[in-house]
Symmetry: C2
Subunit: 285 residues, 2 copies
C-alpha cells in the first residue's frame, strides 16, 4: 500500500470510534478530511520505512496521531482569538461551519485522540508506544512544542529561534523521531533532519504567505504582515529567502543517518525541495 493510502486509512481508523455527540462527531472528520499535503505523516512513514518499518501498525498509528495534532492546531489557530480565519483548505473553518464552542472541543478531542491512537496500537511494543507518546507530547506542548510556538506570539519580545523551532519545527522533529521510534531505532540521529525540513517549510510558508493569492492557498494570505509575525521574506527578500531554503534542504539531505533506506529518503527530500522551490536541492559530495 502506498504511503498516502496508509495515512488516509490510519486517520479513518483513528476517527472511527467517535460516534457521538452528533455535531462533534461530524466536526472531527470535517477538520481532518480532505487533508492538505499530509507532509508530516509522510515524513514519519518515510523515516520508518528507511529504518525497516518492522511494526507497520505502530508507524501507521504514529503517522495518524501526528496528523491529528496538526489538524487540531489548525482548528485552534483559526479561532477568532487567533487568526480569525473564515476559510481553510478551501472550505469554511470549523468554527464558521460548526460554532466556536465546537471548534474548541474539536481541537481538544483531536489532541486527545492522537494519544489514544498511539496507546491503542502499542499493545505488542509498549516501550515504543510510550516513547511515541512522550515524543509527541514534547513536540506538541510547552516549552518545545507547537503550543509554546503559538504562545510566543503573545509575548512582547520574541525569541525568534525558539519561536520558529517550536511553532513550525516541532512537528517535523516529531515526524522524524517518531518514524525512527516506530521502527525500533534510536531517534536522536534523526532530529536534525526533522529540524531542517521544518526550517525549510517555514521559509516556504513565508514565501507563500507573501506571494500567493488566497485562491491558490485556500486560506487567507498576508496573515503574517497583518499579525506582525516574523517572516523570512521580510528579512531576506524573495530571492534571499529562496536561496536560504535551498541551503537548508541541502543540509537536510546531508544529515540523513546511515540506514537501509537512506538513498530513497534523500530522493524524497529532493523531490520535496523541487516542489517547494522549483529547483532540486543538490546533495553535497
Amino acid at each position: 500500500m502506498s504511503v498516502e493510502a496508509r495515512i488516509e486509512q490510519a486517520l479513518k481508523a483513528a476517527l472511527a470510534p467517535v460516534v457521538s455527540p452528533p455535531k462533534l462527531a461530524a466536526a472531527l472528520p470535517y477538520a481532518v478530511f480532505p487533508g492538505g499535503a499530509r507532509v508530516r505523516p509522510t515524513i514519519l512513514l518515510s523515516v520508518a520505512l528507511a529504518c525497516g518499518d518492522d511494526r507497520p501498525d505502530l508507524s501507521d498509528a504514529a503517522a495518524a496521531s501526528l496528523e491529528l495534532i496538526h489538524c487540531a492546531s489548525l482548528v485552534h489557530d483559526d479561532l477568532p482569538a487567533f487568526d480569525d480565519a473564515d476559510t481553510r483548505r478551501g472550505k469554511a473553518t470549523v468554527h464558521r461551519a460548526y460554532s466556536e464552542p465546537l471548534a474548541v472541543l474539536a481541537g481538544d478531542s483531536l489532541i486527545v485522540l492522537a494519544f489514544d491512537t498511539i496507546s491503542r496500537a502499542a499493545g505488542l511494543a509498549p516501550d515504543r508506544g510510550l516513547a511515541l507518546v512522550s515524543t509527541l507530547a514534547t513536540r506538541t506542548g510547552a516549552p518545545l512544542g507547537i503550543c509554546a510556538g503559538q504562545a510566543w506570539e503573545s509575548e512582547q519580545s520574541i525569541n525568534l529561534s525558539d519561536y520558529h523551532r517550536a511553532k513550525t519545527g516541532a512537528l517535523f522533529i516529531a515526524a522524524t523521531r517518531m518514524g525512527a521510534i516506530s521502527a525500533g531505532h534510536d531517534p536522536e540521529p534523526w532530529e536534525e533532519l526533522g529540524a531542517r525540513i521544518g526550517e525549510a517549510f517555514q521559509v516556504a510558508d513565508d514565501l507563500k504567505d507573501a506571494l500567493q493569492t488566497e485562491a491558490e492557498t485556500g486560506k487567507p494570505v498576508g496573515q503574517d504582515a497583518a499579525h506582525m509575525r516574523p517572516n523570512a521574506v521580510a528579512r531576506l527578500g524573495v530571492a534571499g529567502a529562496m536561496a536560504h531554503m535551498q541551503n537548508i534542504l541541502a543540509g537536510a539531505i546531508s544529515s540523513i543517518p546511515s540506514c537501509p533506506g537512506e538513498a530513497h529518503l534523500a530522493q524524497l527530500v529532493t523531490a520535496y525541495a523541487r516542489r517547494l522551490t522549483g529547483q532540486p536541492a543538490t546533495r553535497p559530495a
Copy 2:
C-alpha cells in the same frame, strides 16, 4: 506523606519543565494552583492505596495527570464561547488574567502535559503506563469523555444519560480505573464506584449551583439555569435531589471491590458523603 501532599508535589513536578514562553509558563501554574478540593486525584490515590500502591511514582503521576485534565477543562469551559466566566476559585479566570489566546493554549498545553506526565513516569511499568494513557484519553475525548460531555450542550436534543456520564462522570471513572491500573489491578471492577461518585458529585454540583451564593462557590452561580442545562434540582426539588444523592453514595460504598484497603475506602466515601450532604451515607448490610 499524606495524599494531599503527594498530589500537590506531583502537580508541581509535572509543571516544572514548562519554563517558556513566559506568559504561558505563568498561566499554567495559575490554572492549577491553588487547587480546589482535588477530589479526582484524591479518589485515584485512595483506590491505588486500597490496591496496595506498589508503584507510588506511577500513581502520583496518574493523579497529577488527571487533575491537569480537570484544570484544562475548567480553563476551556470558562472561555467566552462557553460560560464566559470572570472568576474561578475566587480569582480571575485564565482568559481574564492572561488573554483568550493564552487560555486556549494553556488548556491545550495542560492536556498534552497530562499525557507527558504519565509517559515520563512509566519507564519501569510500560504496560501500566499505556493503559493509563488509554484510560485517560477515553475519559477525556469523545464519545465517552468530558469533551463529548461539553459538546452535548451544543446539541438541540440531549441524551441525558450520555451527557451526565461524559460531562461529570468521566473523570471520576478515570479516577477509580487509573488508581487500580497504577497499582497493577484490573480496572473493570472499579468502574461502578467511579460512576456512582460522579453521579453524586453532579447532583451536589446542581444543588450548589441552585442554592449557594457566588461568594461561597468562588464562581458565578445560576449558570445551569442561564445556559438551560439539565439539573437534578429542577427535576426533583432540593429535598428530592438530596435524597437521590444519599442513595447514590450508599450504592457507591456497596460497589467497592474486595481489596486490602476496602474498609478505609468505604470510610473515605462516607466522609465525602457527609461533606456533600451533611449526613452520613449508610452502608447497606
